[in-house]
């Protein structure tokens, strides 16, 4: 009795606690009811029945069989260093397939610096950033990247693919809304899946379609204004689309962003170090101010020819990333020697912006040659894009088209040009992409190199 009174007094003194306890009890009762309902619907089984079911249970095999001639099981083997030339299956070829747009992948000074870093830090960092995995070169690289991009802060990832796919779920949660271009690359698609947000894809590079979707969202929000107050809107685009080589219509999209109060995430996987006078990407190319874009993601595995990826933007966003970016917090940091290589390459690019100019020149020249010279292939890529996506000009059945493209690549390889079919996982992708060849342009190419590539392509096509 006394204890009961004590309890009464206690309730009286801390009402919020009482409310909390009451809600706990209510929750427990609810769970119990729910469990009861569940166990009623799934009736009890005897041990015999269980054994019977287990004996009859035949799960699917864990994996499908992959045919022996699948391209992934018979990869072409690269050996030695890669640069303007590449050794494929022991044969020296002109490199038109790897993403080292600025031709930085074969520099003796970077090698020297990497070796020096190796002799100081070893290879692995043996820990995530928080637990003694932050080397001074990581910090240096982050501030260098921020300066390069002209933003407040940058956040380094140890894998390009993980940067954007980890960033999206750390900001966008399950009741938020994402608007994304339908051609976004696979890493973004994974990030969107991971966020569990509602997603609307707009037609590729089509601001009108985007506006239609945004209006529809406004309409929905008007019906439930209370909920809408907490629904964040994210807009996700790429600078140059990896899948198509097209350039984003940034100015229009930025207008819509402001009008409909979205936050804008921009993936510069291809355009970083390529577009803009100092290599800042599409933002610089279009002259869009920093305040319009909330977060920029890019890889360091393409034009910078190193390893890893990064996010950059305001400190307000980056700080959150350092605590909540899953692939940032729960993974070992980038090997310091790779950070050193990146630093060296950023210096090279800043000191000599000419090489980016040279690259853009080459991209345009290549585009012209492809547009004018190609007989059986065509491209819709932007002239400034270092990635040219070549499709067969006549529509073909998928299997036939793939065979033809493979034959072209093999022919080219035999004639000293390394190309690659654009590899995707059709089953996993959002859209179906026509089979294509991915041709990459680098600043090291000369005019005659590019001419010879077009010639080889045409020859290959005529052999089909």
């Amino acid at each position: 009795m006394e204890s009961l009174m004590e309890y009464g007094e206690y309730i009286y003194s801390v009402p919020s606690k009482f409310a909390f306890e009451l809600s706990l009890v209510a929750f427990a009762v609810w769970m119990w009811k729910k469990n009861l309902a569940e166990s009623n619907s799934t009736r009890k089984m005897t041990d015999q029945e269980k054994a019977q079911i287990l004996a009859n249970f035949t799960p699917e095999p864990l994996c499908d069989d992959i045919p022996e001639d699948h391209y992934a099981l018979n990869p072409r083997i690269v050996s030695g260093r890669i640069g303007k030339r590449i050794t494929v299956n022991g044969k020296d070829c002109l490199n038109m397939a790897t993403n080292n747009f600025l031709g930085l992948s074969d520099r003796p000074d970077s090698n020297e610096k990497a070796t020096k870093a190796l002799r100081n830090y070893g290879v692995g960092s043996c820990g995530p950033r928080g637990f003694y995995g932050t080397a001074d070169v990581h910090l240096e690289l982050e501030s260098r990247l921020a300066k390069f991009m002209g933003v407040e802060e940058a956040c380094l990832y140890s894998y390009g693919f993980s940067a954007i796919s980890s960033a999206i779920p750390s900001y966008s949660k399950n009741h938020d809304v994402i608007f994304a271009d339908e051609q976004v690359n696979f890493a973004i698609q994974q990030g969107i899946t991971g966020s569990r947000s509602t997603v609307y894809y707009f037609k590729h590079n089509d601001p009108n379609d985007l506006e239609r979707l945004l209006r529809a969202q406004d309409e929905r929000d008007r019906k439930d204004p209370k909920k809408a107050k907490n629904v964040r809107r994210f807009l996700i685009i790429e600078g140059i689309y990896m899948n198509t080589g097209t350039l984003v219509n940034l100015r229009e999209i930025v207008k819509l962003r402001a009008k409909y109060k979205c936050r804008l995430f921009l993936d510069e996987t291809i355009s970083f170090g390529v577009l803009g006078a100092t290599g800042k990407g599409v933002r610089e190319h279009f002259g869009v101010p920093n305040s319009e874009i909330d977060l920029i993601a890019s890889t360091l595995e393409h034009s910078i020819s190193s390893y890893g990826g990064f996010l950059c933007g305001s400190s307000f966003l980056m700080e959150h990333q350092r605590l909540c970016g899953l692939a940032y917090c729960f993974s070992a940091s980038l090997p310091p020697l790779q950070a050193v290589v990146t630093l060296t390459h950023l210096d090279v690019v800043s000191e000599d912006p000419e090489i980016m100019e040279k690259l853009r020149e080459n991209c345009k020249k290549m585009q012209n040659m492809l547009m004018e010279g190609l007989t059986h292939l065509r491209t819709d890529s932007h002239p400034l894009s270092p990635v040219k996506v070549l499709v067969l000009s006549e529509a073909e059945d998928r299997v036939v088209a793939e065979e033809k493209l493979n034959a072209i690549v093999t022919f080219a390889e035999n004639h000293g040009v390394a190309l690659t079919v654009f590899r995707r996982l059709p089953k996993e992708e959002l859209l179906e992409h026509p089979p294509s060849i991915k041709l990459t342009v680098s600043s090291l190419l000369t005019e005659s190199d590019m001419k010879s590539v077009v010639e080889v392509l045409n020859e290959a096509c005529s052999q089909l």
């Binding site: 072409r76 690269v78 070796t115 190796l118 290879v123 043996c126 964040r232 993974s331 980038l334």
Partner: protein
């Protein structure tokens, strides 16, 4: 290969156990799973240890959070009144937008994490070996920002995952990596499916497969991504994942991305796992009651926050009984466990082919970066063809691959490698036993080189880490959200590179600090006079 056991006792025990288990498989599973579940382990493998939190400690911890909450709120009020300078970042140019972050998270970061932020992220200036050199830093504004000083300090390193001591900048591995850098460069700028398959990848994959004793293996540039980009290729809608409740974030992300239903079982609790499995098989998918297409069990070898070792023989038995598949993440156990360093499979003497997918990372024992998946040929081929990382992400850099080849070779076939395994096992037992003798509450298995020492109170994280820093010892404090709210802890990672002198010095300091912070909370009987042999 075919090396003599480094610790004959372990091998012997494990093979006896495995025989027993094989026998029981033949006799029918009931004996194993329904009978006395304990018998397999008796006397052989150390049990996972979870001494419960002393009740006084529990209430003290709750109270401590209450105090932190009150002070945090007070400071928020003073900030709002303008008595204290607001240093948090605010979002510019986005007025009138829904707030980007939840307010609780921001409160926690601002008022609880921020004041003790100096315990993490110290900049590393050297190789993370047995000792570590860190840049000194200081803060003029209570850890809101740091100022880096020109000075540096060297600490004994109990924080890095350098189990076998391969974080080195000289010696055979580093020499080989240097040569590789010279001849193969530092990056390939392409994916494995396009033109990024280098001769070095071939070599590392074949050597890894023979090290693990399976048909084939593949390597991927990041350990985290190895999980998050490959689990979705194996299971999808209509499939069930049964995952240990304490699985790593990368595994959870992989589960989430796969679209399969995920159910959890209590950490390393085989009875509960069996219950979940039985329910899954007998009742099928919710609503439709159709049988699951596949059931995939996902567990880790060593759990990095608890120091526990998975009860693998039992998991294998259950997986076979219920026709499920098994995905084993050996991130922390590969190299660190087993007489031949082949991880938890080797530790128990199990057959690697009983595990469908062996996954692991190179960031720990191998002192490199990246992850692998190994198993039967058909399965690895399937992953080769469908892995997201192979299709869309850059392939592993040649020097990193070379570090793996060099360290793997050393473990497999040199006496130096053997020595490393032995030293790690000895360091582990010695260090754990000594700590327990002192009366600390230590979680996990006596054979696990991850040693969590329980602090409980969140404020003790900073006190402990700072005190040890003053003694020139670097450790890792972990609190919420990486652990449950009331289970803040400090974690030591042992390494083959540690010498006995280092360990003794460290133990002495921990002893002192433990007394000062009242950490010796164990109520177990212990023999304090027994001398623990190294």
């Amino acid at each position: 290969m075919g090396r003599k056991a480094t610790d004959e006792r372990i091998i012997l025990d494990s093979s006896i156990q495995y025989q027993q288990q094989r026998q029981s498989e033949k006799n029918g599973f009931d004996e194993l799973s329904r009978g006395d579940l304990k018998y397999l382990r008796e006397g052989h493998f150390p049990e996972d240890d979870f001494e419960p939190i002393p009740w006084l400690m529990y209430y003290a911890t709750i109270f401590s959070y209450f105090v932190l909450y009150v002070f945090g709120t007070l400071r928020d009020v003073t900030r709002r009144l303008g008595l204290e300078k607001v240093r948090s970042q605010i979002e510019e140019h986005r007025k009138g937008y829904p707030a980007l972050y939840k307010s609780f998270d921001a409160f926690y970061t601002r008022n609880i994490y921020r004041p003790i932020r100096d315990c993490w992220n110290l900049p590393l200036l050297s190789v993370p070996g047995a000792t570590i050199t860190l840049r000194d830093r200081t803060s003029d504004n209570y850890n809101w920002t740091f100022r880096y000083l020109p000075t540096k300090t060297t600490y004994v390193n109990l924080g890095s995952y350098n189990y076998l001591g391969f974080a080195e900048n000289e010696g055979d591995c580093a020499d080989q990596v240097e040569k590789c850098l010279e001849s193969n460069g530092y990056s390939l700028c392409s994916s494995r499916h396009e033109l990024g398959t280098h001769a070095e990848h071939r070599e590392v994959e074949s050597i890894l497969a023979s090290f693990l004793g399976v048909d084939e293996a593949i390597v991927i540039g990041m350990g985290f991504a190895t999980n998050s980009t490959n689990i979705p290729t194996l299971v999808g809608p209509g499939c069930l994942i049964i995952s240990d409740e304490l699985n790593h974030a990368s595994l959870c992300l992989g589960c989430k991305l796969s679209g399969a239903v995920t159910r959890k079982f209590k950490h390393n609790d085989m009875r509960h796992l069996e219950k979940v499995l039985e329910r899954a098989v007998c009742y099928g998918q919710p609503k439709t009651q159709e049988p699951w297409k596949k059931i995939l069990i996902i567990v880790e070898g060593i759990y990095s926050m608890e120091g526990t070792i998975i009860d693998l023989p039992r998991v294998i038995a259950l997986k076979k009984k219920y026709k499920a598949y098994l995905y084993l993440d050996e991130a922390h156990s590969i190299g660190a466990l087993g007489p031949n360093g082949r991880g938890v499979v080797d530790y128990y003497g199990a057959d690697p082919n009983d595990v469908d997918l062996l996954m692991g990372t190179f960031t720990k024992s191998f002192g490199a970066a990246g992850g692998y998946i190994a198993g039967k040929r058909s399965l690895v081929n399937y992953i080769r063809a469908t892995s997201f990382s192979f299709a869309y992400a850059a392939s592993m850099a040649p020097p990193v691959a070379r570090q793996i080849i060099a360290s793997c070779r050393q473990i497999m076939s040199t006496s130096e490698g053997e020595q490393r395994l032995k030293t790690l096992a000895r360091n582990t037992r010695y260090f754990r036993k000594r700590l327990k003798q002192m009366g600390f509450i230590i979680y996990g298995n006596d054979d696990s080189p991850v040693v969590p020492l329980m602090l409980y109170l969140p404020s003790k994280i900073a006190a402990f880490v700072r005190d040890l820093m003053d003694e020139k010892i670097a450790t890792v404090g972990v609190g919420y959200p990486a652990t449950p709210l009331t289970e803040s802890r400090v974690r030591f990672c042992l390494s083959a590179a540690h010498t006995r002198e280092m360990l003794d010095m460290t133990l002495e300091c921990i002893d002192k600090v433990g007394d000062r912070l009242h950490l010796k909370q164990s109520v177990r009987n212990r023999n304090t006079s027994e001398e623990i042999l190294y």
